[in-house]
């Protein structure tokens, strides 16, 4: 399936199948969660990153069913198709953004998502404590969501942010690596 076809599917679903809500409600809700986590973990930002990833993972495992039920797409033939599907259909229908897929490694197992816009981070300025800028990945929940969702469709991946405009970087970039395809589990032994 080509990139343009994925874009078309994403556009179509966004227009016809998705209920919309106020974007600021999402931004404010997510911001509150991150701020609360920072407070609860005493500004231990590594721990906050971990918690956000875990929350995302739990969301991803559930959200994938909604994605499949709504989009009615089949299995991707390779990881490149998967990447397009995530960027052009997944992010599109849930957040109305389409991050750019780029920086593939030659073995087609690793790519980057560049977020030109990020509704989670509107209005956000990281705390000025000299550490948040270096340690906190504000939108880390995305990494978990991808990990959870792809695990449910038999792909083990690793995802992390490598840069974020909130930290003063030029771009917001997430690196996604395919670890392995999970083979079908054997059926449980009959009693």
């Amino acid at each position: 399936m080509s990139t343009t076809k994925a874009s078309r599917i994403g556009e179509e679903l966004w227009k016809t199948r998705v209920d919309k809500i106020n974007a600021e409600l999402v931004t404010l809700t997510y911001g509150t969660i991150v701020a609360q986590l920072c407070q609860d973990y005493d500004s231990d930002y590594n721990e906050v990153n971990k918690q956000l990833d875990k929350m995302g993972y739990n969301i991803g495992m559930r959200l994938i069913e909604d994605f499949l039920a709504k989009s009615n797409v089949g299995r991707c033939a390779n990881f490149r198709e998967t990447a397009d599907m995530i960027a052009k259909v997944g992010f599109k229908i849930f957040l109305n953004i389409s991050p750019t897929v780029t920086n593939w490694t030659s073995d087609n197992n690793q790519f980057s998502l560049i977020f030109e816009e990020n509704p989670l981070a509107d209005f956000v300025e990281l705390p000025d404590d000299g550490r948040a800028q270096d340690e906190l990945w504000f939108s880390n929940i995305f990494c978990g969501v991808l990990r959870g969702a792809l695990e449910m469709v038999q792909m083990q991946i690793e995802a992390h942010f490598v840069s974020d405009v909130l930290r003063g970087d030029d771009t917001t970039e997430m690196r996604v690596s395919l670890v392995r395809y999970i083979e079908d589990e054997m059926p449980p032994e009959e009693e």
Partner: protein, 129 residues
């Protein structure tokens, strides 16, 4: 049927489904002439993995299995003459995604006991007849 009967049925079906998938015939893959005698086998279209049992039909009813890409299976029992089963299946899947998976208090992998799911599904089915 009691809850236990459902679980037994689901368990049995799961086993049969797995068997039907593993017995899917494969065809020999032509190997390059240089290689030795070991022949490998594959499905005619390697991109599409083998599915298992999809229909089971008797005089009185038809059992349709719909497996999602995540491996979840839905079993639908209908009259053998019912048409548009795929439409019903898709709707069931959508309602499942909404009222089961998005219910934060539903625990994954546990039996589905979501009243809202039953209610919406019932309502939708009644609206069709």
């Amino acid at each position: 049927m009691s809850t236990n009967d459902y679980l037994v049925l689901a368990g049995t079906f799961h086993g049969v489904h797995a068997i039907t998938r593993t017995i899917t015939p494969r065809i020999p893959v032509p190997s390059p002439p240089s290689s030795t005698s070991t022949t490998s086998y594959a499905f005619p279209n390697p991109g599409i993995p083998a599915t298992g049992l999809e229909y089971l039909e008797t005089e009185k009813f038809r059992l349709t299995c719909f497996q999602t890409l995540t491996g979840t299976k839905f079993l639908l029992f209908t009259d053998p003459l019912t048409t548009n089963i795929d439409v019903v299946m898709r709707k069931v899947y959508e309602l499942y995604a909404d009222y089961v998976m998005k219910n934060p208090f539903y625990q994954l992998e546990m039996p589905v006991r979501c009243e809202a799911f039953d209610r919406h599904l019932g309502g939708w089915l009644r609206g069709r007849t």
